[in-house]
Each structure stands twice: as structure tokens, then as C-alpha cells.
Symmetry: C2
Subunit: 98 residues, 2 copies
């Protein structure tokens, strides 16, 4: 079954959109790495928080993607604009409209 990962990351005030730009720029590489969904979301409820909803072919695909050069580059680029507050929830995706 596909592997789901629900993540949030908090940005330093005023940097949310800069980080969003980085996160949404990696589409081709993510698909090639086995990513089926990498939905970046924001809300006026919390202007410094970014939600990332991911679905991968497997947990292994997700783990391997974190070692990709482009992923490491994106993380390094975003890190100075982040507070270090991250949350993450791994899921087994059991069905629905995928």
C-alpha cells in the first residue's frame, strides 16, 4: 500500500512564500523518485506554517528521496528560513480517491 506522510514546517516570519517556492520547484524529480503526491498547502490560520501532504509508492521510496542531491540542496536552501519546528505523521494509505 502507498506510504503517506503528513508534515508541517514552520518558517521564520515573512519567509513562508520563499520556502513554498523551493518546495514546489522539485516536481519532476519527486515523480521520478516514486512520489505520487506532494501537495504544499498554506492557511491564513497560521501565516508562518507550511503543510506538506505526501504519498509515495512505499516508505523506502520516501526514505531514498531524502538522499537525492536535489532534495538535499532544497533542504539546505530552505533551512535558514525555517525555525526548526517540524511535525510528521507516517500513514498507510488504505484507499479512496488517489
Amino acid at each position: 500500500m502507498p506510504f503517506g506522510y503528513l508534515a508541517t514546517m514552520r518558517t521564520k516570519p515573512g519567509h513562508r512564500d520563499d520556502v513554498v517556492k523551493i518546495l514546489v520547484s522539485g516536481e519532476d524529480g519527486l515523480r521520478a523518485a516514486g512520489c505520487r503526491l506532494y501537495a504544499v498547502g498554506v492557511s491564513d490560520d497560521d501565516p508562518d506554517l507550511i503543510w506538506i501532504n505526501e504519498i509515495w509508492e512505499s516508505e523506502q521510496h520516501h526514505a531514498a528521496s531524502l538522499q537525492l542531491p536535489e532534495t538535499r540542496a532544497a533542504i539546505a536552501q530552505a533551512m535558514p528560513m525555517l525555525t526548526g519546528d517540524f511535525t510528521g505523521q507516517a500513514l498507510t494509505v488504505v484507499g479512496g480517491v488517489l
Copy 2:
């Protein structure tokens, strides 16, 4: 931009899979109503909790879907097996792999 909705619902002990079955059964109707993603997820971290990650064409599509007969029937069918603990976070989906 697409409308995202991150929801959880808590089931009474032992009923998670029964409720999952109801949630994943409505695929065709959801697509016809403008749903692009309705990913039902579970985790061993919390065996009575169901995560539902949704992406809709718009917030209006999402709201209208709650009035559909099949949605109301599914809710009525699941409700006796739920504790009433729901969470929900509305999002603007700004990009990524969708």
C-alpha cells in the same frame, strides 16, 4: 487554487476498518463532485484514528459534496462507530506534485 482539507476522525475501539470500508467506497461520486484526492490513511501509532486527506477543485465543491445523498448516507452509516472526535484543517493548495 485547489482546496485542501486535512481531517481526522476517531472511531470506537475495534471499528476503524469498518469505517475505512465506508470511506473508501464512495470514489466515483467523490470524483464527480470535484474531488481530486480523498486519501484515507491509518497508522499503528493510533489504531482508532483515521486520517483523511482531501483536495477539491474549490472550497465550494467540498461544501456542496457534504449535501450529496451518498455522503449523508455514508456519514449516517459511520456515525454510530465514531466517538465524535473530529479535527479538520482547511488549506489552500499552492503547488507541488498533485
